[in-house]
């Protein structure tokens, strides 16, 4: 998946090519949903934001200038801003309402209640992070962006990104350390 291919697709989509537009949706929708979900912890909200992001991309398509920021970077940036707007407009979700997501490879002996408790604890630790630290963690740890991509998106240097990530991980470790023994039992 290259930025050049995305530029070709969006140019074709702007001329009414339905297949090209579908291609863009296939390539990027899930990443935008994931990003919004990691930021907000709410699937419905994440889908709302993803829809909004793609509607904006659709409107932007006729005026898209190739060679600038990649479509993925643009999508993440718009999603990031919409997530911030939403977090400001609505109070944080109560932990009881946070989605529980089954893990891909759960240990057979794992107790589902323990897993739910762990997911909530991790969710709470992410929610408590300052916004930029949270975004840095989401982009690098969950979205798999490279340090350069994440730094560009946050408009900081790679060194500043590493600083954001270090502070975020330190806070999370401090918060989750008391549960560490339990975690090691569950994940073993």
């Amino acid at each position: 998946m290259t930025a050049r291919e995305d530029d070709v697709l969006i140019e074709a989509a702007s001329r009414g090519d339905a297949a090209a537009w579908s291609g863009l949706v296939d390539r990027h929708l899930q990443a935008v949903i994931d990003f919004s979900w990691y930021k907000l912890g709410d699937r419905a909200a994440a889908e709302d934001i993803a829809q909004d992001v793609f509607v904006r991309l659709m409107k932007k398509a006729p005026n898209w200038e190739p060679g600038g920021p990649t479509i993925r970077a643009w999508l993440f940036r718009v999603a990031m801003n919409l997530c911030i707007d939403r977090m400001r407009a609505k109070p944080m979700l109560a932990l009881e309402t946070v989605d529980y997501v089954p893990l891909a490879n759960p240990a057979p002996e794992a107790d589902i209640d323990d897993r739910i408790a762990w997911q909530r604890a991790v969710r709470a630790a992410i929610d408590d992070l300052p916004e930029r630290q949270q975004t840095a963690i989401v982009l690098v740890h969950y979205q798999g962006l490279s340090n350069k991509e994440a730094a560009d998106l946050l408009e900081v240097s790679v060194e500043a990104l590493e600083s954001l990530l270090s502070r975020a991980r330190r806070k999370m470790r401090k918060r989750l350390d008391p549960l560490k023994a339990e975690l090691m039992e569950i994940s073993s």
Partner: protein, 195 residues
């Protein structure tokens, strides 16, 4: 492991964790070599691995096929400048011209020129010529009521030729139609004497 190497490894672990796929690409080989050769480096990694395991427990949100289908149904608005009027677009296509605006301008100019030439030819050099064409009064059939002889000598005819001016046109005098008044004619119903 030198102090400098240890410091950098700690920085990388603090920022990116123990999952090596997140480590900076440009430093990856050196760091992997360090971890492979130093038990101390491996111990540092293990500490950070616990947090990575905790973060991974958040899972991944499921895919949304319905949203994908809805979004695929949308169509980006085509800008006005990219919309070609159909006939012009057709001609532009024949000419192999990508931009339709110059073709449309050419059409407009050619239409104006054609209209100007046509008007000048139609009006002629002296305005109204008086030419009434091939239609003459003689060609106009007279409306003659039934019962009137077909051969009625006109009291005056303009001439045998086609009249040239409107004053030459005169109406043909027709005799009064020989309709009897109904009271002068025989009664329509004859009384029959009844004995």
């Amino acid at each position: 492991m030198t102090p400098v190497q240890r410091k950098r490894l700690e920085e990388v672990l603090d920022a990116y964790g123990a999952t090596t796929s997140r480590w900076p690409v440009e430093e990856l080989d050196d760091l992997l070599a360090l971890v492979g050769s130093s038990p101390e480096a491996r111990a540092l990694m293990d500490e950070h691995l616990r947090l990575d395991t905790a973060l991974a427990m958040l899972g991944e949100p499921p895919a949304s096929d319905r949203l994908a289908d809805r979004l695929k149904g949308l169509r980006p608005p085509v800008p006005v400048s990219k919309v070609r009027p159909r006939p012009v677009a057709l001609v532009a296509g024949w000419l192999g011209v990508d931009r339709w605006q110059p073709v449309a301008a050419g059409f407009a100019a050619a239409s104006l020129l054609f209209a100007a030439v046509w008007f000048s030819l139609a009006s002629g050099p002296s305005g109204l010529s008086g030419d009434t064409g091939s239609v003459s009064v003689a060609d106009i059939p007279a409306i003659v009521p039934a019962g009137i002889p077909a051969e009625i000598p006109p009291r005056q005819t303009a001439s045998a030729e086609t009249p040239e001016t409107a004053s030459d046109l005169s109406l043909v005098d027709l005799p009064t139609p020989a309709f009897d008044r109904i009271e002068d004619s025989e009664p329509l119903i004859t009384a029959v004497a009844v004995e």
